[in-house]
């Protein structure tokens, strides 16, 4: 295997992530006291710089296999990588003023390690590489979820996430090993030719699909593999929950889309039917249960389950527009949900509460934060001019295009339920008052990292929702790589 510049460029973001991690480890011990939160500035700034450098220097051209076919250097992977790095940068900002995460260098290094794993997940073209990448992602996240050792809920969250993750990834690994056993290769693109040539019996292939869906379904939290999500989101430190619900979910989708569309093209009707049913159930259950929640993090957890269902609509369309719409959906969703968790974090830090009823009077306590919340929640509800609207229209359009009108209708019925509970929260924020208190005497000051992060994300939501041609172009380039 000879070295080519392409090889280096293909893993440039990952190399830089590693470099950033090393720099962080060297610099971090020199900061004392309050200064230790500077690690957050370094991480966020470094991640954004990595994003800029990668966008300038390592944009992929024609898809190529690198490192002996373990990684594929293409737009699909690249666009997802950029989303993960952006998500991590925002998460680092939100971590800075968290009481336990903020001043601990380890938390940022774990974040970088997880991001590195996600990047490899999005690019890997080989079962072994894929599995390693998934574990590289998961293990730091287990630790981060249980980071607050003195908090029982956080410990529970970390442990629960670990148990679920370990179990489902074992099932998936079993699927991988069978796949290897039947086909004699671990390369996804070689596997593809085997299944197309009919060397893999259809029944076996479907069985393998089911095993793999278990592992990836856990990552993207679709029903019935979603049970961990509400407890983990509620217990984990809020920035980590935000990261889990966005970047980690998107990474799952990156693998899911590539794996199924590349490896099992000729039984696409069968697995798409399975996923279509799961998608319908996921949306419905997620939304209906979200409606009943009193804790905002649990509500966002169920809402993120529902959103996995919407995004899945694009996957089951198994078309170029379908994949484009998934990628676009995830982009809009990552930005929106990060904003939502950022707001919950900023609010909870001052008030010490995540109960929806305590959001009463928020628009008087902090009008700016309330506007950000309005934008984020309306985007989640799928209202224009915010990103969520176009994203939903695209996935529904993809479903109608392939004559899956029923799934689009299920999605639309669900978004009505969604509108109801998102608006209910906004009602509390804007309409209700604090009992017997003067709200203006209880402001919610935003520290600088929150202010920056939320402004960037709010503008991002508007940008994705109004000027969507460039993002759609990138998503389309990513989708083109699969067909």
């Amino acid at each position: 295997m000879s070295y080519t510049p392409t090889m280096f460029l293909s893993i440039l973001p990952e190399v830089l992530l590693l470099v950033l991690g090393v720099i962080l480890m060297i610099v971090e011990p020199f900061w004392k006291g309050e200064d230790r939160r500077n690690a957050g500035w370094l991480t966020a700034g470094g991640l954004l710089a990595i994003m800029a450098v990668s966008l300038l220097a390592s944009r992929p051209g024609e898809p190529t296999m690198v490192f002996g076919g373990t990684l594929r250097y293409d737009w699909l992977g690249f666009f997802f990588k950029m989303m993960f790095i952006f998500g991590a940068a925002m998460t680092a900002l939100f971590m800075m003023d968290h009481e336990t995460l903020g001043k601990r260098g380890e938390s940022y290094i774990l974040l970088l390690a997880a991001t590195l794993g996600m990047n490899l997940m999005a690019a890997s073209a080989d079962l072994i590489m894929l599995y390693l990448a998934i574990e590289t992602t998961s293990i730091p996240l287990y630790v981060l979820a249980g980071f607050m050792l003195s908090d029982e809920r956080s410990t529970e969250a970390g442990f629960k996430y670990l148990l679920y993750g370990a179990l489902t990834s074992t099932v998936m690994l079993y699927g991988f090993s069978l796949l290897f056993g039947f086909a004699g290769t671990t390369n996804l693109y070689d596997l593809a030719s085997m299944t197309v040539a009919g060397q893999l019996p259809v029944g076996v292939a479907l069985g393998l699909v089911v095993l793999i869906v278990v592992g990836l379904g856990f990552k993207v939290s679709i029903v019935p593999f979603h049970f961990w999500a509400p407890d983990v989101y509620m217990g984990a430190p809020t920035p980590v929950a935000g990261f889990l619900s966005t970047a980690s979910k998107a990474a799952g989708f990156a693998v899911l889309t590539r794996l199924f569309i590349v490896v099992f093209p000729d039984i696409s009707y069968d697995w798409a039917s399975i996923l279509a049913v799961l998608s319908a159930i996921t949306m419905t259950l997620g939304n209906l249960v979200a409606m009943k929640q009193r804790n905002i993090k649990r509500m966002l957890a169920y809402s993120s389950v529902a959103h996995a269902g919407y995004a899945m609509i694009g996957v089951v369309a198994v078309s170029e527009l379908g994949v484009t719409s998934v990628v676009f959906y995830l982009l809009a969703y990552i930005i929106t949900n990060l904003a939502a968790f950022g707001i919950v974090m900023a609010f909870g830090r001052i008030t010490g509460s995540d109960e929806i009823k305590d959001y009463a009077g928020m628009s008087r306590r902090s009008p700016g934060l309330a506007i950000a919340m309005l934008v984020a929640f309306l985007s989640l509800a799928g209202m224009p001019p915010f990103g969520g609207f176009v994203a939903k229209v695209f996935v529904f359009a993809a479903a109608v295009q392939v004559n899956m009108v029923w799934l689009a209708v299920v999605g639309i019925l669900n978004s009505i339920v969604g509108v109801y509970y998102y608006l209910t929260v906004l009602k509390v924020v804007y309409l209700y008052r604090m009992e017997g208190e003067n709200e203006e005497a209880h402001p919610i000051p935003l520290t600088r990292p929150y202010a920056i992060g939320l402004v960037v994300l709010t503008l991002g939501i508007l940008l994705v929702g109004t000027i969507f041609a460039p993002w759609f172009g990138f998503s389309g380039a990513a989708a083109l790589n699969l067909f």
Partner: protein, 494 residues
């Protein structure tokens, strides 16, 4: 490239709204002045558009086209025809008067005007949209601020219930239409090979008759929910009652037209054969709304509920006009949209003025208002005459052709629907007698003050419009007719 006047009209309110949000919360007066300046600017531009629209040339004018997402054929395409030009003017008028009426709002006026202006942008955007995607985009923008405006600044008793009911009704309606729109989009692509949301393109898509018959009802009714069509009108009176005055004005004056207009533009114009097939059903629904709405309005003791149901009745007339699918009826519907818009805005404005002073809207508890607020009384009476369809006012110019158009198609329906004229006259005159000319109840004596200058400006503006159109129909009717000719061309005939 021509001057992008329509885009400026569409984006003026939303940009002003954003700027208002950036102002400090305590500077309430500056916020109001800024709002008034933006509203005046938008009104002047819409007047400009109205008077420079060339009725002889007809067709879509002031067009602008930009690529929004070429890969999917989504464009930003605006333009107005004889149908939408009056509605743009209407929106400008209601926005302007709405700001004047809301001058006294003390609770977070910054957010109030910002949300109101986002709503206004959405409304302008729908009226000028020639691209189906863009139409939905602005349509939804017009829906969600209603929730906040009603829930936050509305009447404390019913606001939460009404706001949620309204939002869910409208959202369900619009997403049902959206599915139909997506179906049209893909079928048009199959038929013509052009991937486009542009409505002028979709007009030529040769949808099969079967396709049109299947999809007309969901698309038409989905939008018509916002037009208050029976049996989906239920949200509307509740919403009117719970909303603050300016929002009621917007809601009844403009938003309901949005529904009727979108139903016309997307339902009837893109699926004409479907419209012909289903027009008896639509006509039945509309006739029921006209008569039933009037009866329910007659039974109300709350002024706002009365006007709310009278809106259902009058919007029923619009739908009735649309369902005739002939030139007379459609022209009447077009004028009625404008006429009812200004009239009902006036009603809600006056009701709001009375409520602010007397703190009740119950007709039996009111009286003698003409002595203390003669200006408002005259305004309400003029509005009442319009509502009754009295010759010399815009209501006559609108309603007469509608009934005539219905007569051509179904004389019986015209006869039944005309019952509403009598009932309308009864409840309007009863209201005028009780509220304005009966001796004032003792508990109100001395507490009621006259309306202020801003209110007077608002009342004069709308009254002048109603009288001018009534006396000189040619300022509006020929323009609407050019729009109708275009619809008839699509319907293939006449």
């Amino acid at each position: 490239m021509t001057f992008p006047i329509l885009s400026i009209i569409v984006f003026t309110p939303i940009v002003a709204g954003m700027l208002i949000l950036l102002m400090p919360a305590q500077r309430k007066n500056e916020v109001r002045v800024m709002a008034l300046a933006a509203a005046t600017f938008a009104l002047l531009l819409s007047i400009w558009v109205y008077f420079t629209y060339d009725s002889n040339a007809a067709g879509y004018q002031f067009q602008e086209t930009y690529n929004w997402l070429p890969a999917l054929g989504i464009g930003y395409h605006v333009g107005v025809d004889g149908m939408s030009t009056p509605l743009v003017l209407l929106t400008g008028v209601v926005m302007f008067t709405g700001v004047l009426i809301s001058w006294g709002i003390e609770d977070r006026p910054r957010e109030f005007f910002a949300f109101l202006f986002i709503l206004a942008s959405g409304v302008f955007g729908v009226f000028v949209a020639l691209d189906l995607f863009q139409l939905f985009f602005f349509y939804e923008i017009a829906v969600f601020p209603m929730f906040l405006l009603i829930a936050i600044w509305g009447w404390i008793v019913t606001r939460e219930y009404a706001a949620m009911k309204l939002t869910l009704y409208l959202f369900i309606g619009s997403v049902v239409s959206l599915v139909g729109a997506l179906a049209m989009y893909w079928v048009s692509y199959q038929n013509t090979g052009v991937l486009s949301f542009d409505m002028l393109q979709l007009e030529q898509a040769n949808f099969s008759e079967q396709f049109q018959i299947i999809w007309f009802l969901p698309v038409f009714l989905g939008f018509a929910v916002l037009g208050g069509i029976w049996p989906f009108h239920n949200w509307s009176p509740d919403g009117h009652v719970a909303a603050p005055t300016a929002v009621s004005m917007f809601h009844a004056g403009v938003l309901m037209k949005l529904g009727a207009f979108a139903a016309l533009r997307v339902g009837i114009m893109l699926l004409p054969q479907g419209a012909q097939f289903w027009s008896p059903l639509v006509m039945t629904f509309a006739a029921i709304a006209v008569v039933y709405g009037a009866f329910i309005a007659f039974m109300q003791e709350d002024m706002k509920y009365m006007i709310g149901f009278s809106s259902v009745s009058h919007m029923g007339l619009v739908m009735l006009g649309l369902s005739t699918l002939n030139k007379t009826g459609l022209t009447g519907a077009g004028v009625q949209m404008f006429s009812h818009g200004v009239m009902t805005a006036l009603f809600f404005a006056v009701t709001g003025m009375i409520y602010d002073r007397a703190h009740t809207r119950q007709i039996p508890e009111l009286g003698g208002m003409s002595k203390v607020m003669p200006f408002a009384a005259i305004g309400f009476i003029i509005g009442g005459l319009v509502s009754m369809g009295m010759p010399g006012f815009s209501g006559f110019i609108a309603e007469f052709p509608i009934f005539m158009g219905v007569w051509y198609v179904q004389p019986w329906v015209a006869i039944i629907a005309s019952i509403s004229i009598v009932i309308t006259a009864a409840y309007i005159m009863r209201n005028i007698r009780d509220v304005f000319f009966r001796p004032m109840p003792e508990n109100l004596e001395g507490h009621i003050t006259d309306v202020n200058v801003l209110d007077k400006v608002a009342i004069v503006t709308v009254c002048v419009l109603m009288i001018v159109i009534g006396l000189f129909p040619r300022v509006m009717v020929p323009m609407v007719q050019t729009g109708v000719d275009n619809i008839l061309r699509l319907l293939g005939g006449a």
